[in-house]
């Protein structure tokens, strides 16, 4: 072997060792985040699906929004004053109007009347699982952010460890040996989703770790004031003046938006310090063909336009920071991009699952079989999605306040212990088919209980049935019972 070839071989071995080391550090949690993230891409669709019979409001007038605001504040009479009031305006993904105060969130009808409480506890559990692993947000989002950086490192070491990246671009030997098949799935999916992986890893890490950098900068330049620090990007808070005042004229603000900015679509209204002399109205508006989550237009209490934050046309850093969210969650191109992100997310789950599985198989091949570790990994890979479905059943059996996070994590711990004590008890094939049957049963029951739901929600049940069919019958297509 020539010297350059030896050098490359050494580099590949080092990268592979590094890839394995980082994978072992982050593997299980990264899989849970990939799985919940795949589902979170369409979280607004889950929110609708979870409460399928709530009235939808594809459009709402400025006057109705004003009525919504007044109704919500009146409903909170006697409670401590809310610091913020939010109105989610109908969007393509969530064609419902939701008003949120510090005391709760409610759906409203097209006239602005409160009609039902927002009760999507399962969807919120899914989101929290992805964003902060159901831990307290401060620490949870840091851990998830750290895993984002580790994911990027995994992608880089994976590429370095793959010298035949172009020659193997489409090589798929899924009917070869188990290890060969899994290696091909792992490598091919990993390579072709590389831009996606790096994008969501870095944006996720930037979101998750931002509190560290911002805290350091706040302490150095803003006397520790985090709100002032973040204000450089997202806009600051108004000076508080608690003197009671009539509620802000949101209708005027929305009408001014239509008149001054007809090309943008308002998606969110926020009243800061509602019902006080210091209140201010913020209208977040979606800009077509932009990655920014929106532009914030500011109005005074009378609904007169003041200015905008500059997320759409301000300094480049502000635009870049505002672009991380849509890029991360895949909601920048409607249903097609969302479906593509779900596909890429599933690919990441496969890459993650097969990665650890390959490592275990290589250990076994070297004479170090680890049945308990294999049991652990089987419990994580199949236990996590099964428990998410069980949590969904709890939502419909007990209600939106069910202890989803406790069920998931305690259930996963029990599954892990069980599979480590008796690794041979349940095969991955059995677990996969069980998951398919559970998803299929969920879809059928949901479909039958919400026959009058909008077509888009019935389509979700149909997709779930298709997923169930694939999970149960994939062996017929590939011609072998995958044991991964």
């Amino acid at each position: 072997m020539s010297a350059p070839r030896r050098g490359i071989a050494r580099l590949v071995d080092s990268a592979l060792a590094g890839h394995a080391a980082i994978g072992l550090i982050a593997g299980a949690l990264m899989y849970v985040i990939a799985l919940s993230g795949t589902l979170a891409v369409v979280f607004e669709h889950w929110q609708r699906w979870e409460q399928p019979l709530v009235a939808e409001t594809p459009a709402i007038s400025p006057q109705a929004v004003q009525h919504t605001v007044e109704s919500a504040l009146a409903a909170d009479a006697g409670k401590p004053a809310s610091e913020h009031l939010f109105v989610h305006l109908p969007t393509d993904d969530l064609p419902r109007t939701v008003v949120t105060t510090d005391h709760g969130a409610h759906y409203v009808d097209a006239a602005g009347n409160i009609v039902a409480p927002e009760a999507h506890g399962w969807t919120e559990f899914l989101l929290a699982l992805h964003i902060n692993l159901n831990l307290p947000i401060t620490i949870g989002i840091l851990i998830v952010g750290a895993l984002g950086s580790m994911l990027a490192a995994l992608a880089i070491t994976g590429v370095i460890a793959h010298p035949r990246i172009f020659r193997d671009a489409f090589r798929m030997r899924v009917r070869g040996g188990r290890q060969l098949a899994q290696a091909d799935w792992h490598n091919r999916l990993g390579v072709w989703t590389l831009p996606f992986t790096l994008t969501i890893a870095i944006t996720g890490a930037a979101i998750g770790l931002s509190s560290i950098g911002a805290t350091m900068i706040a302490k150095a330049y803003h006397g520790g004031d985090l709100i002032e620090t973040y204000g450089a990007i997202f806009g600051g808070e108004p000076e508080a003046d608690p003197t009671p005042a009539p509620v802000a004229n949101v209708a005027a603000a929305l009408e001014a938006m239509q008149a001054r900015f007809p090309d943008v679509r308002p998606t969110y209204v926020t009243i800061e310090e509602p019902g006080t002399a210091g209140q201010r109205v913020l209208v977040l508006a979606d800009h077509a063909r932009r990655l920014i989550y929106g532009e914030t237009y500011r109005f005074d209490a009378a609904g007169h336009y003041l200015d905008k934050v500059g997320l759409s046309d301000g300094p480049l850093g502000r635009q870049a920071a505002a672009s991380t969210y849509k890029l991360h969650f895949g909601n920048f191109g409607g249903i097609p991009v969302e479906l593509a992100y779900v596909l890429f997310g599933l690919a990441m789950c496969v890459v993650s699952a097969t990665g650890m599985s390959l490592w275990l198989q290589k250990r076994a091949r070297r004479g170090l079989p680890s049945p308990r570790l294999e049991g652990f990994w089987k419990a994580v890979v199949w236990g996590a999605p099964i428990l998410i479905v069980v949590a969904c059943w709890m939502r419909f059996a007990i209600g939106p306040k069910a202890p989803f996070a406790a069920l998931f994590w305690i259930g996963l711990a029990v599954a892990i212990v069980g599979c480590m004590v008796r690794p041979e008890a349940l095969s991955p094939v059995t677990l996969r088919r069980a998951l398919g049957a559970m998803i299929g049963a969920t879809a059928i029951v949901h479909l039958l209980s919400a026959l009058t739901a909008p077509l888009a929600l019935i389509a979700i049940d149909v997709v779930l049935l298709a997923v169930a069919a694939v999970l149960i019958g994939v062996d017929r297509v590939t011609g072998r019972a995958s044991t991964g």
Binding site: V12, S14, A15, A17, G18, H19, A21, I25, A146, G148, S149, A152, A153, I156, T157, I160, A169, M172, R173, G176, L180, R188, W192, T193, P195, A201, I202, A205, A206, L209, I212, G213, A214, M216, I217, Y221, T229, A232, I233, R289, L291, G310, P315, L316, G317, R318, A320, A321, F332, G333, A340, Y341, L343, F344, W359, K362, R365, R366, V477, G479
Partner: protein
């Protein structure tokens, strides 16, 4: 709409051309990459970062479908890899091995985090001194930290043994301090 759809289709066709040329005529490979690059350039010129993101998503989705088809259509026969697959040599279980793993974890995760945070802080400081507005310097720091940490973890994890993992972290932190230090 057409100005997005056409290059989007071009990116998808580029992936199809790559598949056509894989293991076959080289011109298809050249055409495939050219088509993808051209499509992404046009989309970026037309619709900025949004266009680039849409085009990349379309190309990746097309590749997923090609791989799925390859997985389904592959002939049902047992095949073996024609080459020895690179493997990791797992160490035998020893207490020393556990200590080593803990050291690796500590060096890559908490130490790497601190080192990358210091470098990000240094980048923010030097950007401020260069006259950047705060939105830019802050955003720079927020993006630098995860990127640097990922690169640092890559470098560290490719080193043999925990001792050699220390110097990359130290260098990273030292650069951050030098950038921050008001010399």
């Amino acid at each position: 709409m057409i100005e997005i759809a056409l290059p989007g289709i071009g990116a998808v066709l580029g992936v199809a051309a790559l598949r056509r040329g894989w293991g076959g005529p080289r011109p298809w490979i050249v055409a495939g990459w050219t088509l993808i690059a051209l499509a992404l350039v046009i989309l970026t010129a037309t619709a900025g970062a949004w266009g680039l993101a849409v085009g990349a998503s379309a190309a990746m989705a097309a590749a997923m479908l090609v791989l799925a088809r390859a997985g389904i259509a592959e002939p049902g026969r047992e095949t073996r890899s024609p080459r020895a697959m690179p493997t990791v040599t797992p160490p035998r279980w020893r207490w020393r091995g556990l200590a080593r793993r803990i050291a690796v974890f500590l060096l890559i995760v908490p130490v790497g985090l601190v080192a990358s945070a210091i470098l990000a802080f240094g980048c923010d400081a030097i950007a401020r001194r260069a006259g950047w507005v705060e939105a830019d310097s802050l955003a720079l720091a927020l993006f630098v930290q995860p990127v640097v940490w990922a690169i640092l973890a890559t470098v560290q994890s490719m080193k043999e043994g925990p001792v050699r993992m220390i110097s990359p972290a130290l260098i990273c932190a030292a650069i951050g301090l030098l950038l921050w230090w008001p010399l």
